[in-house]
Amino acid sequence: MTEMGSAEKDLKTAADIVTEYDLTLTAEEVAEVIKLLGREPSKTEAFIFDVAWSEHCSYKSSRWALKRYLPTTASNVVLGPGEDAGVVRVFRENGVGKCIAVAHESHNHPSQVLPVEGAATGIGGIVRDVYCMGADVVGCLDPLRFGDPEGDHGHRTRSIARGVVDGIWRYANPIGVPNLGGDVYFDSCYDDNCLVNVIALGIVDEDKIVRSAVPRIAHDVHYFIMVVGKPTDDTGVGGASFASAVLDDEAEESKSAVQVHDPFLKRVLTVANKEMLRRARERGIEIGWKDTGAGGLAGATSELAAAGDLGAKIYLDRVPLAINGLPPEIIAVAETQERYVAAIPAFFADEFTEIYNEIYDLPRVFPGACAAVIGEITRELEYEMIHGEEVVASIPLDALTTGPAYKRPTVPASPPIEPEGPQPVPGEPGKTLLQLLATPNVCSRRPVFDHYDKNVQGNAVIEAGESDAGVIAPWHGSRRAVAAAADGNPFITRLDPYAGGAHAVLEAVRNVVAVGTTPICITDCLNFGSPEEPEVMWSFVEAVRGIGDACRAVGLRGSDGEPLPIVSGNVSFYNQSETGAAVYPTPVVCVFGYIDDIDRATAGYLQFPDNALYLIGRRWGEMGASAAYRLDGRWGTPAPRPRFEDERLMLQVVLEVNETLLNASCHDISDGGLAVCLAEMVMGPSGAGQLGAEIDLTDVIDDNEPEEIYKALFCENGGYVVEMNQGCEYAAELIFEAAGVDWWRIGTVIDDPRLVVYMDGKPVISETVESLAEPWAGGLRELF
């Protein structure tokens, strides 16, 4: 460790350190580390900073924009962003807040390199984030983006897509967490960078929330730091740094940065953790409890200590290892899966280890798995790691937690390139509909969802893939339920990032509203290219602005102007390959909804013959980035403009009608527009719907011109189709009218499985359910 030299000399030394240890930090950042420490970092320290200051952990490029644009507080928020999971109070029972805990992350780079392991550990990490709040995980969702299965890299894309879905079910099914939904898009922009987002939902009583912080009482009582779970190995070294770099050929080989999953051990741990938390609670013992994710033990234990304004000493040779003789820097940062860390009072340590090592018999169940004391909490705000006799790290905690911050330059992104040649004339609507139903981005998601366990835990009310959102009733004995839906149309965001960000929120909101639930909070994951590229950074800022505006506009129903709060999220930059090809800007949001009686949970497909069908929401004919235009590779313009006031009115009215009259069914209008919405309502989730619909759009469309009819059927402006039970029509219409939304009675449910759409007395679409379902049901069957 040398004396501090001149700034120039520091920069040279820093550059050497970057090369020597193969860091992802820049020389300037390492020079900053040297300045903070007053000396050169040791190898272990360099590794720790490389993770803590990575884009993935520090949000150094995105922090300012998130802070400026995203609303994160509302009266129902118990814990906002910053914890492992956000916690939102849903209702109160006997004075106790009943909460949901939600987390949302990406696992993009690992899934591109090793799809099965990457996706599996994505699920593994996100459920740990929710478990460590003391919550029971009751569902997960997986928004996925893959390359073009028929494109130049089709073979690789297909194997990645299959591997990812495999990884998800091979992890989520064994741990007993049902899938609640997600979405899938395919486009060649994801050829080199697939996106695998993961979302977990848990439930927890407000008085049982466990914090990822050393409790205050540790200022006065001696606290130990424990590790529990899989013995530490050398997997996932630099995983967070790996996620913060462009994926190049070399990175494709850096498979050691990908973690290895073990759902079996996770399930056993989950059961044992429950018992440990119960005992601690019953005896009034305060603990800090955290999942071991990015940055491994160093990341988890330093954050645990820092969050409690205390320091920590970790004895690396007390860490149970899977491989003898691992060097200290690997023990410190390896992202070995299926581990948690805890800060517990020293007197609880024996009982703690007994629960895991004897009662649940971890060492017998999994070789080397156990609970062990690895360190202690100190009053100095210093983070120390000791290996044998040697102090291998000694870092002031604030240096770790206050990383660099950048406000990078932005330049408006150039619009996407239109294909050459004359614009195609709109075809026959019926034909276009059948074509759309066969495309990978519109067809049935069932071949994916059928791999996922959708009903384990027994809480499912509406299963993944059944309607617009998954609905579960996890509070046993009550009819209260929560819903979740994840969305993010990348084409709209590519065309107009602001509209795309807003659209992602509005679409997910419509989905939870369609199933009858009121939106209560949102999570996001922002998947972009390199923030160092001004066009990417501009798209990022625009999308974030769109998300923020949409959250404020939708608002928290029943509150006094509060926003729909964003309570958890993640930024994933550098989804870009060495050739410079970045993914389309892809903000993915998940909206959670609540309903106090599953009686009003609404299916997204037709229920009873002779019921009336209503269209809510004007067809503005904004075709930009629509699935119909994309059939010919066209982009068009403009993208569906977010009309915040209209959206707010529509969601109010759909919920109000459902609350007073009970919607028989309801489906939102999104990809593929009104035509695809109606087709999905008649087909039902299995494609074997036994009812049909007779629709007349004469009043909806002003001009009886082919172009106008086409636009009305296929534009993706937000809206809903609602099925009302017989006898409720008049009352429903009064509600629609009073609310001031645009609405039309467009047709009737018929006892004949077919979709017929009339315009001025002439059928423009006339298809049987069988003919609709044939291309739709089989679209992804080959792939998965």
Binding site: N173, F264, P447, G458, I462, A603
Partner: protein
């Protein structure tokens, strides 16, 4: 009140909802860890092996758990006439332990082999229709497994199974007709659930605990249960679903005690 032990092998994941289902028919559902003293089983009236992935399906689904000490103790309790129900992974354990079909108790005479489905590879989660043979009624419930195909190449065994009416549940069409049966995994003779030859043991692949309350059913189901689900309002949604009958007859058998007949 019958006291039912639900055996928690490491890696099972349906123990809690199974316990709730047992409680819904008036039994007591007690979750018993795999490593407790096996003698404690003698204090229970019946046993359920729940779904999941015991020992992460190492070797074959159910194979390791079948060798656990507690399963040997379970076999002794079965000999005393106490009933056992294995659901999904539990069914796999029972087959691997030679308890089902149990023509020669202790001998593995069948397998729950990987699914064979022309439309789908790997784990398959989907609602299927079963004919519950004791009552002849159609029960929709979810199947959720990768290895659920009852298989044997002993044709004589299948004949005996049919002769002795050991098929407990069979995959059928929603209307109960036997033609073009929807069989999700290629199971021989469309077997979804099978009882043992001489002892009160049943191995059932689909999940009755996920169809134990009406609200758990999707609204698109065809037939009587689908109609009932679509029309159900408020408190009716908390009423019994098609899976309830499975738990009811199991707990009743446990209540009657040794000597009572399960099927």
């Amino acid at each position: 009140m019958a006291k039912i032990a639900i055996i928690q092998f490491p890696g099972v994941n349906c123990e809690y909802e199974t316990a709730r289902a047992v409680e819904s028919v008036g039994g007591t559902g007690e979750i018993i860890r795999f490593n407790v003293n096996p003698r404690t089983l003698s204090t229970h009236d019946g046993f359920i092996l729940p779904g999941g992935f015991a020992y992460e399906d190492r070797v074959r689904a159910g194979a390791i758990a079948a060798k656990d000490e507690i399963v040997a103790a379970l076999a002794e309790e079965v000999d005393r006439g106490k009933p056992v129900l294995g659901i999904c992974n539990g069914a796999q354990v029972l087959v691997e332990a030679g308890l089902v079909p149990g023509r020669k108790p202790g001998e593995v005479e069948m397998a729950l082999a990987p699914n064979e489905n022309p439309d789908h590879a790997g784990f398959y989660c989907r609602w299927v229709y079963l004919r519950h043979e004791p009552s002849g009624t159609i029960l929709p419930m979810p199947a959720a497994h990768a290895e659920g195909r009852f298989a044997t190449d002993d044709t004589k065994l299948i004949t005996e199974i049919k002769d002795k009416e050991l098929i407990y549940c069979q995959y059928v069409r929603a209307d109960g007709s036997g033609e073009r049966v929807y069989n999700p995994n290629g199971s021989i003779s469309d077997i979804a659930g099978l009882s043992a030859f001489t002892r009160p043991v049943i191995a059932l692949m689909p999940h009755p605990e996920r169809a134990n309350w009406l609200y758990q059913l999707p609204q698109y189901l065809v037939g009587e249960w689908g109609e009932r689900r679509r029309r159900a309002r408020r408190e009716e949604l908390m009423g019994p679903g098609p899976g309830r009958v499975i738990f009811k007859e199991f707990v009743e058998a446990a209540e009657k005690g040794p000597g009572g007949r399960y099927l």
